[in-house]
Symmetry: C2
Subunit: 356 residues, 2 copies
């Protein structure tokens, strides 16, 4: 593995490039994208050389790090080339059934191996400027089949590789990702429509509504192909959710107090169980310190000064929208050891109450 081509130097492609370089400075990375993007990537040592699709036959590994529809087209183009040496092709798109079917149908030359990939990390930022060698740290990286070559090449990403059957992948992501995006956008659409006759909707929406609709601020050019690529699983989730809502509706109209209590209580327990899967889950903020702090100015500064040698990933000050910084701080660390160091430091230096 000496020559690696990355087609598409967005957030994902360029972060993969940096991750490969971390453990394998000996490989040469060729980038394919718009000229402006390539200029930036070359100048910032994300790639070693600008390239173009025509050079693909000199490559050992090719990453299709584009939106799904472009990746499908790229497989078509690649299938029209004749390869004279073994080549490994992989993608990074969010559904796996369609692209594997495309690869199986078209990439039939014996020298070509296709492995589906889905690195499950993201950022609110996009594009080559957002390239981040740590983007995939502890994130799941789904592969459609075992492939040691690829795992070795990608070791510097510090991701957690997991082999998942394509169909299972698409069903699971329909539930935890694709359908939630539909819910968020649908709730916004519904509220916006309702606001025409009930304008207070725009005023009285609060924090819960904001959090539930955050992922509605999404990129249609990424998400439309995902929905179209996974119709069966998504429509099944929609139908199952409608049945779930009918159940709630029925409990409400039958004044089934016990049933509604149980609906909320069991939902709460289920969610808490999901978050207990901390070390294994894809939900970030695994290592959280909850700290009750006094109602004093500069208190966050004091806490951060104490913890200045420990990497912090997030600080949340509860009682937001209030006059003073007080109440509870949630400080997130990158691992258990750092959390424990922080707890020890806080216990020694302060009398702040550490929560569970």
């Amino acid at each position: 593995m000496k020559n690696i081509m990355i087609i598409g130097l967005g957030l994902i492609g360029s972060s993969i490039a940096l991750g490969i370089k971390r453990d394998h400075p000996e490989v040469k990375i060729y980038g394919v994208d718009q000229e402006k993007t390539l200029d930036y990537a070359l100048k910032n040592d994300i790639i070693d050389e600008k390239s173009a699709l025509g050079a693909v036959n000199q490559m050992d590994v090719v990453f299709l790090a584009t939106p799904l529809d472009s990746a499908l087209e790229l497989i078509q183009s690649l299938s029209e080339l004749v390869f004279d040496h073994p080549i490994l092709i992989t993608d990074t798109s969010s559904t796996k059934v369609e692209i594997l079917a495309q690869a199986k149908a078209l990439l039939t030359q014996p020298l070509v191996t296709f492995v589906g990939g889905h690195p499950m990390a993201g950022s609110h930022k996009s594009g080559v400027h957002a390239a981040d060698v740590n983007l995939f740290e502890n994130a799941y990286y789904v592969l459609s089949q075992e492939n040691e070559t690829l795992k070795t090449l990608l070791s510097g990403l510090h991701a957690k590789f997991i082999i998942v059957d394509a169909k299972e992948h698409d069903q699971v992501t329909a539930q935890v990702s694709h359908f939630p995006h539909i819910i968020a956008s649908s709730l916004i659409q519904q509220s916006n429509h309702y606001a025409k006759n009930h304008p207070l909707v725009n005023s009285l929406a609060a924090g819960g509504f904001r959090d539930m609709t955050r992922i509605a601020e999404t990129n249609s050019s990424m998400w439309t192909p995902i929905l179209l690529s996974n119709p069966k699983a998504i429509i099944q989730r929609i139908e199952s959710f409608k049945a779930q809502l009918d159940g709630v509706s029925k409990m409400i109209s039958q004044k089934d107090e016990k049933g509604i209590n149980n609906f909320f209580d069991s939902g709460k327990k289920m969610r808490q169980r999901m978050e207990i899967l901390e070390g294994r889950g894809a939900i970030p903020n695994f290592y959280d310190l909850y700290l009750s702090v006094p109602d004093e100015k500069g208190i966050v500064l004091r806490v951060l000064a104490l913890l200045q040698d420990i990497s912090i990933t997030n600080i949340k000050i509860y009682e937001e929208n209030r006059e003073d910084i007080h109440g509870q701080l949630q400080i997130s660390f990158k691992n258990e050891a750092d959390l424990q160091r922080a707890k020890a430091l806080i216990s020694i230096a302060t009398d702040f109450k550490i929560g569970e």
Copy 2:
């Protein structure tokens, strides 16, 4: 207005007590709750005297700051007393139609005035220990009718009073609050059920899923009465949402790329418009500073040291779950003036890029 009784010294009742005392130290606040709660409230100057329902005839104003079902029962109890002087009774519950109907039917003595109230603020904390004089700062406080006495009494809450017809209130909160709680719990229930045959659901759920289900960690003893008190509006929201989902389902099965693009794009625009309603909306984090900071340890500390004389309500470090603190900081302030001061300070003292 000299004697005020607050029945129910939870988060809401005890924070109202503190808010009244801020502007009106002359009034005497009587608390009604469990003995342990009253002890704490008295010791911490939240109330001036422990009391009991029997003393209600000596009061000028009575707050029913209990869950909805208890408030309905309290109205029944109060209606059985004979008042010999004018008394103002108000509540704090999350629906307004049912309690106003109860009050209208039962509180028929000419000396009794009932005004429905809904202070729209909350916290992840609950109970008298969480009492916070700033809890309602800039939050909407819905009243079912104009009442200057009440607004004057509550001036120290620094809330935004708004008169909303009870039916309209219940319809709007069904959309922005009650139904979203049903969605969150339903999504958890659905995912948990699906996980029985697709265990990866528990692993691959990520940040978007977490945010959408946060409000599923709710208190059934508060939420069940709300749902049962607002059945018509909530069931209507459920039916309308099912129709919305059917529309998406249809676009997916018809491979309507343009329609799905438009669904996501318009949803994104609608949400951005909602957040533009900053100064007026109930969504907090109105005054946000976005700061691109270098990838250096201690950078958050440096920024907070610069801003130490300005009240900060929240700090979010993007690129969470990453090794180093870097990328973008989102720092939230309590008003425009503080945001502008912070911007000026940052511009003078650093070369960090300030985002929009």
